[in-house]
């Protein structure tokens, strides 16, 4: 039942926000909806921890530890983002971003906000659906849904550049997802002689996973390749990552944060589902070789762009490319440690990433630029809180202790060693160090420095609150992890490795 509510809440929130066209109301609708969603996520977690798996409509909707984790993270991210969004858009409105004549037509405030506040719930809905759909076809449909819902968010500001970004996002995403669909099709084909096609449940993951062993092997190989490329595109794995910097730097901050911390998980979730089938059918080697290749490639691609980056919004995108690379690599390393590391990383990444976007958003709104060159440093004088948080989260997101991402990266490294990939592990650490250096150098030069004499920039209470709150969560999670959460992650890991 809770599954149904998880889907209904955002689905209702969207039209509500659309028709109650007053700003304050729309804000409240979003906040309430996502708060409720988070509670439901917690409840789902509790149920899953108790019963192992929850299903509804004879297994059309199905939630195990893995899906519960993704739902929990999605709801958390959407809640945090909705809190920040309030302050963010108020500031936009104050500084008259909407009024200024854009290339198309003078954008009116309310319609724009309406666009955001009614699309976001749909966006979240499709993300939740991704996690809850048992049928792999529906899974695909839902992921396609996230693209469609977010295209308009990407071109929210209606600049030429945002149109360009939206176009690249849509086309590359569309192509990628059609590959994923092909992969799904082939999986269905390789399974259909075992299960039979006519039944509706013929694509249900919970059914497929049982007898994945008897699937048709060559078909499965091709299927996994296509799935990897397809969902990899959505997760932004190199060389399918190219849409990311554009989309992330053009979308409004809360939407970008959701893309980075929410959609990423969904895409990887789909990948993991198929990885389970593939490794059951073909054994782990075939999949893990490909995964390691693409993971390292993504990290390698991210490094130079972070080292010589001019634009801090784009820099965040490359960081998320790097992180999806890390997770894919972890999955490739495999073994209980590798999978655990990947899921830990997914969790910690989704908790940490939004703050990075929020800080960047504050800076951008305050300085009216997203180029380091024009920012001229000394930020800490005009926005001490944001500056400090920015430095902190930079360190946190690049996986330095005492922050939580260090735990996951340490686990992944150990997985690499126990998998016997010594050289790869060294490469992994080298990339991590390089990315840390590049990131910190840029951000430190942005935050520190002599006072450029700007007016104090931290006025909005909502933004302050979201930043302080999230920062304290990040610090806390670095030192201590709630036992249920870890049990959930562990459960998901066992699911993937087939230990349970």
């Amino acid at each position: 039942m809770v599954l149904l509510w998880l889907l209904i809440v955002p689905l209702v929130a969207s039209p509500l926000a659309f028709f109650l066209r007053r700003r304050a109301v729309m804000e409240r609708v979003n906040l309430v909806a996502f708060a409720v969603l988070s509670c439901l996520g917690a409840i789902l977690t509790a149920q899953v921890l108790r019963r192992g798996s929850v299903s509804f409509w004879n297994g059309f909707f199905y939630a195990d530890a893995l899906s519960a984790l993704v739902v929990l993270l999605t709801s958390f991210v959407s809640l945090v983002c909705s809190i920040y969004a309030v302050g963010y858009f108020r500031q936009d409105e104050k500084s008259g971003v909407f009024q200024e004549k854009s290339e198309l037509q003078p954008l009116l405030v309310v319609p724009k906000l309406r666009e955001y506040y009614s699309l976001t719930p749909l966006f979240v809905f499709s993300m939740v659906l991704v996690a809850l759909a048992n049928n792999l076809g529906i899974l695909w449909v839902a992921i396609e849904g996230t693209t469609l819902a977010s295209v308009f968010l990407v071109m929210f500001y209606g600049r030429e550049t945002s149109l360009e970004a939206a176009w690249k996002y849509a086309i590359i995403g569309g192509v990628g997802l059609s590959m994923a669909l092909f992969g799904t099709l082939l999986t269905y084909y390789s399974a259909h002689r075992v299960i039979g096609t006519d039944t509706l449940s013929g694509l249900n993951w919970s059914v497929l996973v049982g007898n994945a062993v008897q699937f048709d092997k060559p078909t499965m190989r091709l299927a996994f390749i296509l799935i990897l490329l397809g969902y990899g595109t959505k997760a932004g794995i190199a060389p399918m990552h190219t849409w990311k910097p554009d989309a992330y730097s053009e979308a409004p901050i809360p939407a970008a944060a959701m893309l980075a911390a929410g959609v990423l998980n969904c895409a990887l979730y789909g990948l993991v589902r198929f990885y389970i089938l593939t490794s059951r059918c073909l054994g782990p080697e075939f999949a893990s070789h490909l995964l390691i290749l693409f993971g390292l490639l993504s990290m390698a691609v991210a490094v130079p762009f972070i080292l010589v980056q001019k634009n801090f919004r784009r820099m965040l995108a490359y960081s998320s490319i790097d992180h999806s690379g890390i997770m894919v690599l972890a999955l490739g390393f495999g073994g209980p440690l590798g999978v655990l590391g990947m899921l830990l990383h997914m969790t910690f990444h989704s908790i940490t990433k939004p703050l990075l976007f929020f800080c960047a958003g504050n800076v951008q709104q305050h300085l009216k630029t997203e180029l380091f060159r024009e920012a001229k440093g000394g930020l800490v004088h005009s926005m001490p809180l944001t500056g400090a948080a920015f430095l902190m989260v930079t360190v946190a997101v690049t996986g330095a202790p005492p922050f939580s991402l260090f735990l996951s990266e340490f686990t992944i490294l150990r997985a690499g060693f126990s998998g016997g990939h010594f050289a790869l592990a060294i490469l992994f650490v080298t990339f991590l160090v390089a990315i840390f250096s590049g990131f910190l150098i840029h951000i430190a030069n942005l935050v520190l420095g002599s006072d450029p004499g700007l007016p104090p920039g931290e006025t909005c209470r909502w933004k302050k609150f979201s930043i302080v709150g999230l920062a304290s969560v990040i610090i806390l999670i670095g030192f201590w992890i709630p036992a249920p959460l870890f049990r959930l992650i562990q459960g998901a890991a066992d699911l993937v490795t087939g230990a349970r």
């Binding site: 396609e144 176009w167 849509a170 059609s178 390789s190 060559p218």
Partner: protein
């Protein structure tokens, strides 16, 4: 009369149609006029619908009728109509030179067809060729080729609209693969996919429209502001 029960006959028909589809696709690669490439797409979709119908008829799989019907309505009817409307609205009829000139593109699509055959043969199961259940199995190669060529069209064409067309024909390839391999997906999935395609085209259409207004051209190779 007995002809209409003979699976072999149906198989031949299907193969013939599939070949036609492929020819159309390759023709679309060389095509200059947007409107005519839209029409080509419409015809292609119609043929697909027909194939679906034949398969449905020959092994009495009723849910494929639905798929066939949907294809007929949406892909062969609705979408071409919408797109032509769009063309009318933005008054850009002619595709400027593709990135790779026509002969070379056609050559490449030939190679891609070859790749399609290689891929398809890798999981082709001869024991299934006998009997009506195997209807249309050897159209798989065509499907894969369709997919690849559609992809190639997208990255070869400069106009936003023709990229959308490429995406659609790529979807067609998937559809052909679906019906020929497994007689379609479960119905829910089919519906979902069709819905997505529809919405996707609408979204892209809006995008095309806005791009046209912002840049007063549809040449996406001009969209190069966002770069390192």
């Amino acid at each position: 009369m007995h002809l209409l029960q003979d699976a072999a006959f149906g198989d031949r028909i299907i193969t013939l149609m599939a070949a036609l589809v492929l020819v159309l696709q390759i023709a679309a690669v060389g095509q200059r006029w947007i409107v005519s490439s839209i029409r080509i797409f419409a015809v292609q979709s119609f043929l697909l619908a027909a194939i679906a119908g034949i398969i449905a008829y020959f092994n009495h799989a009723n849910h494929i009728y639905v798929a066939a019907f949907l294809t007929l309505v949406i892909k062969a009817g609705l979408l071409p109509w919408l797109l032509e409307g769009l063309v009318e609205k933005i008054r850009i009829r002619r595709e400027i030179e593709p990135l790779i000139n026509a002969p070379l593109s056609i050559l490449i699509s030939g190679c891609l067809t070859l790749v399609g055959y290689v891929v398809a043969s890798s999981f082709y199961h001869p024991e299934e060729t006998a009997g009506r259940a195997a209807l249309g199995h050897n159209t798989l190669a065509v499907a894969v080729a369709l997919f690849l060529i559609g992809f190639f069209t997208i990255l070869n064409r400069r106009k936003a609209l023709t990229q959308v067309l490429g995406l659609l024909s790529l979807e067609n390839g998937l559809f052909l693969a679906a019906i020929s391999l497994t007689y379609g997906m479960p119905l829910v999935v089919e519906l979902g996919i069709f819905f997505d395609v529809l919405v996707g085209v609408l979204v892209l259409g809006i995008l095309v429209f806005r791009i046209r207004e912002a840049f007063d051209s549809m040449d996406v190779s001009k969209l190069r502001k966002l770069r390192e």
